[in-house]
């Protein structure tokens, strides 16, 4: 108080406007910018922006983009994806063989792979421990279905035998995922108890170093990594929720990589900047307006088809998203090997929609509750979709729910509709089973309560021959799109902006960032 009084007095005497004083204070701090520059120019660090805080270092728990982006650096799985083409390659596994009936997988493990922090060599016992942990019905892992009641036998320290309950041609996908398939250290978990979750121990290219909630996760290079030590000493995943702030931080080099940017305007601005490289890849996420097939009038397939014709998806992708998303004809995205365009199509046709509605007995339209979640952009594009629907006479009541409320409401299975962008695994079975198979009935995300493609999806999973399997998936997609339990609104694309001089940062079509092979040249 005394200080400010003195300030007042000085101010009055000198008759200086307050603005000049403030400006003076700012200019006198100018040397401090040197500090920020020095901080930002360390050569051995790579800073990657993430948009939400990391929630858990337990990879077996529900995944988020951020959790997975940490997990891929700290842990490894028996198999993994080559991110250039999403093909499966061995990691902790050295080789594997499958029995003729497709039920028994014998996996030989790589020898001499060490866990971080002196927790010893990774062995078949860690594999058994990790997978049983996922399958424990009381464990907090939602991925048990991926392993579908298999049994795990340790043959010797470096050989593990997995016996499936029924044939699953997609099983190598289940062993490559960056969730349930990651191998934890049994010793670390048994010794640390609950504390291991904030001190994760894996075999990955980077060791966990620090987590500052609300700020960043710091990872340090693993000198003994079995695929070779990464070039960059330290990795920081920096939380910057606001995209405009992240854009400036990238331009200022406070971060090197702007991962998963969404804003079309920001993408356009960064693409025009010579110092920034913007990369993009089609992703494995599709976003849906899910229609509950058990609630009138949505139980009438004509009504659902009419709604599909009523939505102008081309305009949504081109105008609302400014071309940053792509169209998809089925719940799978064109990025899946099993995708097909040869399915019933629903081009934008309001007249056809009205005809179908009239045929179904709703010539005057009906009341429709469109339910979505208060998360950008899911609280925005439904406005455009609602407008399309209302043009054919459907009276839309658009309800935006807060996140946790939405989660609980969707899990109740009573919602007439939902906005859902289901899991992003390269395994087509994971996505389709979650969204349109009775396995995914609420509390899962099959809020459509649609089971019409169950038989085809089960048959596809069991078929070992890849061509025959693909044909069955095509058949399943045709069946699904004939019944329209969900309207696939768009397929996502993943945009990542890097500062020039940063090379080798890989992104996955399943939305995670992998900096193992990255180099920085400032």
């Amino acid at each position: 108080m005394i200080r400010s009084t003195l300030l007042c007095r000085g101010l009055l005497r000198l008759k200086l406007p307050a603005a000049a004083l403030a400006l003076g204070a700012i200019v006198s701090l100018a040397p401090a910018i040197e500090l920020a520059r020095a901080y930002a120019e360390e050569n051995d660090v790579l800073r990657i922006r993430i948009g939400s805080d990391v929630i858990s270092f337990d990879p077996h728990r529900p995944s988020t983009i951020e959790n997975t982006s940490v997990a891929v650096h700290v842990y490894d799985g028996l198999f993994g994806y080559d991110l250039t083409d999403m093909s499966i390659e061995p990691r902790l596994a050295e080789s594997h063989s499958v029995s003729e009936d497709g039920l028994v997988y014998t996996i030989k493990l790589r020898e001499g792979v060490m866990f971080h922090g002196g927790y010893g060599e990774m062995t078949a016992h860690d594999v058994k421990f990790s997978f049983e942990r996922v399958m424990d019905p009381e464990a907090p892992s939602p991925w048990a279905k991926e392993f579908d009641g298999m049994t795990i036998d340790v043959e010797d320290d470096h050989t593990v035998v997995l016996t499936l309950a029924r044939p699953n041609a997609n099983f190598l996908h289940s062993l490559s995922s960056r969730n349930q398939a990651l191998i934890l250290s049994r010793k670390a978990i048994e010794e640390m108890g609950e504390d291991w979750i904030t001190n994760p121990i894996g075999t990955g290219a980077y060791e966990f170093s620090a987590w500052r909630p609300g700020d960043r996760v710091v990872l340090a290079a693993n000198d003994d990594y079995f695929r070779g030590r990464p070039a960059i000493d330290r990795l920081e995943l920096v939380l910057i929720p606001e995209e405009t702030s992240a854009e400036i931080a990238l331009l200022n080099r406070e971060i090197d990589v702007f991962f998963a940017l969404q804003g079309p305007e920001i993408i356009e601005r960064l693409e025009a900047n010579a110092e920034i490289n913007v990369s993009q890849r089609p992703a494995l996420i599709s976003c849906h307006l899910v229609l509950n097939t058990t609630v009138p009038p949505l139980d009438n397939v004509l009504v659902r088809r009419a709604m599909a014709h009523a939505v102008n998806r081309e305009s949504l992708v081109e105008n609302f998203f400014r071309g940053t998303k792509v169209l998809t004809s089925t719940p799978l995205t064109p990025e899946y090997v099993e995708y097909t365009d040869d399915v019933p199509q629903y081009p934008y046709d309001p007249d056809k929609a009205r005809e179908l509605l009239a045929e179904a007995g709703f010539a005057d339209g009906f009341d429709f509750r469109y339910i979505t979640v208060a998360l950008s952009p899911y609280d925005q594009f439904p406005v455009v979709v609602s407008d399309d629907l209302s043009r054919v006479g459907i009276r839309v009541d658009l309800t935006v729910m807060e996140r946790a409320t939405y989660g609980a409401a969707r899990a109740s299975g009573t919602l007439p509709s939902a906005t859902t962008c289901p899991s992003n695994s390269p395994n087509p079975d994971t996505l389709l089973r979650a969204l349109v198979h009775s396995d995914g009935f609420p509390p899962g995300v099959n809020t459509a309560r649609y089971a019409g493609a169950d038989a085809l999806l089960d048959a596809a999973r069991a078929k070992q021959d890849p061509d025959k399997r693909s044909k069955l998936y095509h058949e399943a997609q045709r069946q699904i799109m004939a019944d329209v339990p969900t309207i696939p609104l768009y397929a996502d694309r993943l945009f990542t902006a890097t500062h020039s001089g940063v090379e080798g940062v890989m992104t996955s079509a399943a939305f995670w960032v992998d900096a193992y092979g990255a180099t920085v040249n400032r």
Binding site: S4, L12, S245, R403, G407
Partner: protein
Amino acid sequence: MLRYAIGRLLLVIPTIFGMVVLAFFMLRALPGDPATAILGEFATPQALERLRSSLRLDEPLLSQFYHYVTGMMTGDWGRSALTRKPAMAEVMSVVMPSMALAFASIFVAIVIGIPVGVLSAVKQGTGIDYLLVALTIIGISFPVFWLGLITIVVFAHTIPLFPAVGAGAPGSLLSQTHALVLPAIVLGSGGAAYIARLTRSSMLEVMNQDYILVARAMGISESRILFVYAMRSALPAILSVIGVTFAVSIGNAILVEVVFARPGLGSLIIKATFSRDYQLLQAGLLMLAVSVVLVNFVIDLLYPIIDPRLRR
């Protein structure tokens, strides 16, 4: 004075307890199931049951409350249901940047607000007065979010004086202070405007009092009249608005935290709310309440110091 202080302190305890009770029951009135929010929609019923029982969510509300209060008394805040980190440890890790921001923004508000208010009162009816009043209206009405982005663009990019994001390097006070400047100015600007307007009107009111006229008649210098006689009477009102501004600043801090990507109580509480992480949320809310109550307690203690009439 001591009795006054003790009386005030005794009021602090029921205030905080009331806050604890309110927070506890209001959280439980929120729609949405914490177990589903934490484990996701594919969790097995067994896993949900187990989590509910480990969080005591399957017990009656009063029993939950009893365990909560007794745990609190013994310093056991439980673990964040989401991260499994001890809840209080997680809260403490963001308290420093949060408090630094709150106090720095109050400092900015005072340093700008009081001189502007005094100047505007002294120059009442002149161009300077109108200009300053207009500026304060702008200061009050600018959304913090927008102001933050503009500030980043101008002072972190166009003129690269300050970092755009973050709270500075841990362990480096210089770097942390450096990173604090822009957020403090943005968050403090609204408070500065309030304080300026209040200072102006308090000063105007006091300046019309007879005793100021008497002081002038006795030939006392104008600056002495202003700062010794007038200011002193205007201070209690200004002080009380500072207390309110602090509470508002802490509430508004979430926006500043998001724009400048700073860790803080605001973002922590929002994160905990979205995931229905009761333990974390309760610890965070309590920390928030305690800081607001303590600041107001200190302000209460300052009243009798600056206003002798209150000492009796």
